[in-house]
Symmetry: C2
Subunit: 402 residues, 2 copies
């Protein structure tokens, strides 16, 4: 029962303490908006940040009257690279690449598409791995709690910078959908439509519980060091803890049936000459692979901060409850569910739909029948595209004719 080889990197290269993008790394397709360095950005939870920067990417062209802009919002471990290939500065292909591009469901021949890295993130936007201008050191353990509302206010600043007064649509799944809903509530005058997918109006106890055990996994890693690990030597970051959090999460992102169908009882290690404690089945190799991928491109503290922001998501907070908050939404809504989503079950999207309808608003709720589980909003491209494309076309037509 030794720890040996429990989280060895897949390849021989050394892993930095954090997978965060840092100034000096290849910029790739990123652009940046830097907020006024002399004004503190006040956070909903009580803290503040000085010198906030937001990284973003765009695709397509903004038209003359700035009426064709779509904001795409990423989920927990996503970033601004929603579309495009991997390459210097972008360790992976765009997370929604099959949906965003010329002729695709979010057609960049027609739309100007924007995606920002969320506040607290680690791919160019200010987060715990960023240098605190007031100390010259990474924020680490001193980074404050941020909320989805804080994230949306940074996105509004980017919209101002780009000259987008009103989005044709704000679109996103999971935590991305949380941002979509807050856009509809915080800035009803700035959105023509909303597409919150596989998401919820308030994090459930089950979602919070899952987030909580993932945070505990990171904290349990002695290499997390209370949140101050950025000076650690290569391979000495909290990789095991962050990787374990990812493994736990993966078991909530894919459905039970999908995992069993794909992995079964296949063995990764030979077991026919006797059993040892750390022999692995294929599913364990699959989970380790998911962990290895994440620790190369993500920061453990960003995981803590963003995952906490998701738990705090509750559109009803300070607004007299869910019903009154949702009544502020005036834009037409498209929401999608994945039938086997055990993390964001269909009843959450149904609740949203029912509320919008009962307020006299326009809402469509489609259930994608798939074994994919929660990840379906990322993997069921055809079904997601088939719902999104006509919805966006309808809004576009309405705007053109108005």
């Amino acid at each position: 029962m030794t720890e040996a080889n429990r989280r060895a990197p897949l390849s021989a290269d050394l892993l930095p303490a954090s997978g965060a993008w840092r100034p000096g790394d290849p910029v790739g397709q990123r652009r940046f908006v830097a907020f006024d360095p002399d004004r503190r950005f006040q956070l909903e939870g009580g803290g503040s940040l000085k010198g906030v920067t937001v990284a973003y990417e765009t695709w397509g062209e903004l038209n003359a009257d700035a009426s064709n802009a779509i904001l795409v919002c990423h989920a927990l471990t996503g970033d601004s690279h929603a579309a495009g290939p991997s390459g210097p500065g972008h360790p992976t292909e765009g997370w929604w690449d099959p949906l965003i591009g010329p002729g695709k469901a979010i057609d960049t021949n027609r739309f100007f598409v924007v995606c920002t890295n969320v506040l607290g993130g680690c791919q160019g936007t200010t987060g715990p791995s960023s240098t605190n201008p007031e100390t010259g050191r990474p924020y680490g353990s001193s980074f404050p709690v941020v909320t989805i509302r804080d994230i949306v206010r940074t996105q509004a600043a980017v919209a101002d910078e780009l000259g987008v007064a009103k989005w044709l649509s704000v679109v996103g799944g999971s935590m991305g959908g949380m941002q979509v809903l807050e856009w509809g509530i915080m800035f009803p005058e700035r959105v023509h439509s909303l597409a919150p997918l596989a998401t919820c109006v308030a994090a459930s106890a089950f979602q919070i519980g899952q987030s909580s055990v993932q945070r505990s996994a990171i904290v349990l890693d002695p290499k997390w060091n209370g949140g101050d690990y950025y000076d650690a030597a290569p391979n000495e970051g909290p990789h095991f803890g962050l990787g374990l959090a990812r493994e736990q999460a993966t078991l909530t992102y894919q459905s039970e049936e999908l995992i069993d169908t794909k992995q079964g009882r296949r063995e990764k290690d030979v077991m026919d000459r006797g059993f040892t404690p750390w022999q692995r089945f294929a599913v364990e190799g699959f989970l380790d692979y998911q962990a290895e991928k994440l620790i190369r491109r993500f920061d453990a503290n960003s995981y803590l901060v963003i995952n906490k922001a998701m738990d705090l998501h509750d559109v009803g907070r300070g607004r007299g409850g869910l019903q009154r908050a949702l009544a502020r939404i005036t834009a037409p809504v498209l929401t999608l569910s994945i039938s086997t989503d055990g993390l964001y079950p269909t009843r959450q999207q149904q609740f949203l739909h029912d509320e919008i309808v009962s307020n006299g608003g326009s809402s469509r709720h489609e259930i994608i029948h798939s074994k994919a589980g929660h990840d379906g909003f990322l993997t069921e491209h055809q079904a997601v595209g088939a719902a999104l494309k006509p919805f966006l076309a309808e809004i576009e037509t309405k705007l053109t004719n108005s």
Copy 2:
């Protein structure tokens, strides 16, 4: 973002390094069978153990022809205390107390009920926290891999000791059900009936994945110390790791809907004066409570060993596959499913049922409609009892008339 108070004991008393029962602790209702100390107990996985002891409890009286004996098999963190109150030596009430007793579904006025602590456990049966007679020190990291079949062979030795040639029934849920199935396959001549509840014929990839992340949580705790922590000071055992494993598991034992209904978004810590990273919602307090309870009565290495035994559960191994293994079952079978069990989904029990029936055997499969999730086999006493009671009565009648 400090670690402070993340896993402080609920009360002020000191926690020993392991929650295992040790010789010298109050014996409670336990009795013991000690195997011949001069013979090594060979394990399926290749290892062996010298001087195995099995702790067990009994309720009711064995009748003259020893035909009224029922073996009840416990799940992952259970022990031999299936019924009866808590008290010295028994930190908790019997885990199936509402089902076992005079006049209850498993009626101790009629049946002689036996429950053994499993091999690898920590409540009196030989496990990693036991003293290795060959070294005079706790096994710790040197404890071998055991399988469900090894556990069943220790139970057969207890049956011999008690003079039970053939059980009226072998009954158990989850890992208990794995033992039930192995009894039917390894010893068809020793069982009159089988009641495997909320269980499976082979662990699924999803179950293995969940087990695997729970093992990783324990290993990640530096206080686990490679498995050798028994000499650690009070409060210096791998409590955080074992507790985190329990928290993860709890999220698979109760259904998403049950957890959300019970805990909702209630706050355990005050959040209306700003947000801090480790403020907890009620669900986090609930998970911590589950963790605290377990670490007081369980051993981290036993968790690793038993949880691995569950992953290795595959009745088809070395027997030409599942179908051929299940064809060895000749006893009538009652299997129960919980409709919302996401860990041992109904299709697993349906598969078992279908196989028994297609082999010309006798099987009944009942689905308990409940929000309880997997835990339903422990918590839905009325429904479980309502299915078990007539099943056992039928077998009893058949034996009386034969």
